[in-house]
Every structure is written in structure tokens, then in C-alpha cells.
């Protein structure tokens, strides 16, 4: 059953990559990345137990913590980019009117 669960996780990872490739917008790709991180944690836990080395679960713990940071960095970047673009447009509009 562990193996079956592992296969299911692999299939969903592949589907997440497919969404990332198809994804029309930027946010679809962020979604794929976020989903992919969770799937990796699951895969690592399952593989650790399949190998019979539960002491390697540290890795999955590290992933669970680190993945969040990556998503936050991406979100901050998008937000700052949008803010910068809005600023630029405002400045240009001001420049035209004055």
C-alpha cells in the first residue's frame, strides 16, 4: 500500500508539472510550485518508510518548513513588481500632465 501511495504521489507530481507547463498565467505556475512542494514532502516520507529508515524523516521535516519560504519569496516578488509598475505608470501619467 505504501508503494501505491508513492505512485499516486508521483502521478500527482507529474500532473502538477503539466499544469506548470500549460498554466496560462503566472499564478497557475505559483500554484503548481506550491503543490509540488507538498507532494515532495509526501514522497520523501513514503520513500523513507519504504527504505525502512524512519530516521531520515528529518528531510521531510526540512522540506515542510522550507517550501513555505520559497512560495513567500515568489509572492513578495510579484507584489513588489506590481507596486513598482503602478508607481511607474503614475509617474509617467504625472509627467504627461505637467
Amino acid at each position: 500500500m505504501l508503494t501505491a501511495a508513492g505512485l499516486a504521489v508521483l502521478v500527482s507530481m507529474a500532473l502538477a508539472i503539466l499544469r506548470g507547463i500549460l498554466g496560462p498565467g503566472v499564478y497557475d505556475r505559483v500554484l503548481a510550485m506550491n503543490m509540488f512542494g507538498t507532494k515532495t514532502v509526501l514522497l520523501i516520507s513514503i520513500v523513507a518508510l519504504l527504505y525502512g529508515r524512519p530516521d531520515f524523516l528529518d528531510l521531510a521535516l526540512a522540506y515542510a518548513l522550507i517550501n513555505f519560504i520559497g512560495v513567500l519569496a515568489v509572492l513578495q516578488f510579484v507584489q513588489n513588481r506590481d507596486a513598482r509598475r503602478a508607481n511607474k505608470e503614475r509617474r509617467q501619467r504625472k509627467g504627461v500632465s505637467s
Binding site: 528531510l59 519560504i69 513588481r81
Partner: protein
Amino acid sequence: MMTFFGFFTLTMVAVVAVATVVSSNLFVASMWFGIFSLLMASNFFILDAADVALTEAAVGAGVSTVLFMGALSLTADKESIRQGRRLLPIVVVAVVGLVLLIATLEQPRLGDPLAPVHQHVAPWYIEKTPEYINIPNIVTAILASFRGYDTMGEVLVIFTAGIGVLSVLSFKPKKRASISSEELGQAIRGLQHHAVLRVVGKLLIPVLLLFGLLVQFHGKYSPGGGFSAGALFAAAIMLYGILEGADRSAKAMPQKVMINLAALGCTIYTGVGVACMLLGHHFLDYNALWTDPQIAQYYGILMVEFGVGLTVTAVLIMIFNAIANRATY
């Protein structure tokens, strides 16, 4: 079954690598690169390299994404497509690939216990680690004791790279800022207005630091050690910087202190080596430190790993602060 898992993840790695290179939006490309590193780390784990997977997890998915995002916000997030001469590069690349492909046909297949790599040196390390050093993690034993010279070199390289980033970014551009300071403050403010993110993120920071301590000091018994712990500590500070604004993380972890800490880490490493020499043994021969060689090795590895962790943490935080606090021009 594990072989199948390996094949599947490797195929996904190849697909993701192509997607990374093809996408002309650099922001999307860095996200693909994050996925690429996650996949790579799971693959390392499937290939029995737990320590490497832990380091790749901490560095690739967290630190590298943060740094790429910081760099992209200072440069441009779109790549301009130019149809240049592509024939020559493609030919060169194809020839390189073909030569390597022919070379692999002679390689031993994956997992062959009779492969030449497994015949020399490595069995000695596996056999002698319990006798000489008596810690369960053979990787840490080799990293910090048997091949301590290598690791010292790597730590100095990391230190040098940190100094390099600082000196490259210490130049002030000639052009004046085209954005007012008020708008600038807005740009580096971070995610402060997201109350939910701040609360949950702040919950994670102490856990991450604690986990980093576990990886640092428990690295002799389980996967871990100074390199991965340093990356985890740095990731915790980066999380703080992202949530509260990079100016605050630079205030909490000032660059001057960080550069001293990085130097201190290198000094601890080399200092242990010199102390061994002063006590009449070879450089980095920890047996000099105590009468019982196993205890001496234990404490030697502890101190050296501490130095490594200090340098890696300080250098990564330094790089993050330097890039994230850079004003956009």
C-alpha cells in the same frame, strides 16, 4: 520498485530542465528552477544520499529561490528574445553530448557493487569509522575528520564568495535613484500588511531555528551537519526578512557583525587545526585534543562543524541582506 521511482523522478527532472531553459519569463524560469531542485533532492534521497538531499532541500528550494527573486527584482524579469546564430552552439553542444554518451556505455550500471568506485578508499572509511571516530554518520566523519582539509578549503571558498558579493555590491551607481525614497521604502517593506502570513510565518521562525540547531548538533547521528544547518538558519532569517521587510532583518543582523561571524567561523576551523599542531600532532589531527582518541575526535568534529555552520549562516545572511536591501535604480 525504487528503481521505477528513480526513473520517474529523473524523467520529470529532464522535463523540468527543458521547461526552465525554454521559458523566456525569468520569473517563471526561477520558479521552474525551484521545482527542479526539489526533484533533484528527492532523487538524491532515492539514491541513498540523505545528507546531500537535506542540504539541497535547504539550499535549493529556500535560499536559492529567495536570492533569485531578489536579483530579478533588481534586474529585469523578462528576457529579450533575439534570433542570433544558434547553429554553432547547437553543434558544439551536440558533439559534447555525443562524446559523453559514448563514454557512458563503458560505465558500470547503477548500483553495481563491483564498480571501481566502491573498491578503493570508501570501504576503508566505512570499516574504520566505528573504530577511529565512533559516530554513526559516516558522511560527517569523512567531512569533518578524514577529509578535513577539503572541507576547510570549501569553507574558505564560501567566505571568499561572500566577501566578493559584498565588495561587488559596495559600489554605488553613478546614476541617481529614479524612484523617490518614499516609494523605495514601499518596495522593500515586505509582506507586512498580510496579517495571516505574518502570524503563521513568525510561528515558523523559532521552529526553523530549533530544527537548525538539531541538524547542527545532531548531525553526527542523523543526516545533517554544519552546511545544511547553516542554510536552515539563513532560511529562518530570510523568512523574517521577507515577512517584516529586509531593512529590519539587516538591522537585526547587521552586515558588520555578520562579516565578523563569517571570519570567526573560518578562524575556529583553522584554529582547531593550529591547536592540534601546537599540541604536537599534524594539522587537523584531532587526536591531539584529548587523551582518549574517540572523545578527542568527537569534540574536534563538534568544533569544526560549528565553525562551518557559523560561516555558512553568516555568509548567506550577508548575501541576502546585501541583495534585498539594494535600492532599485
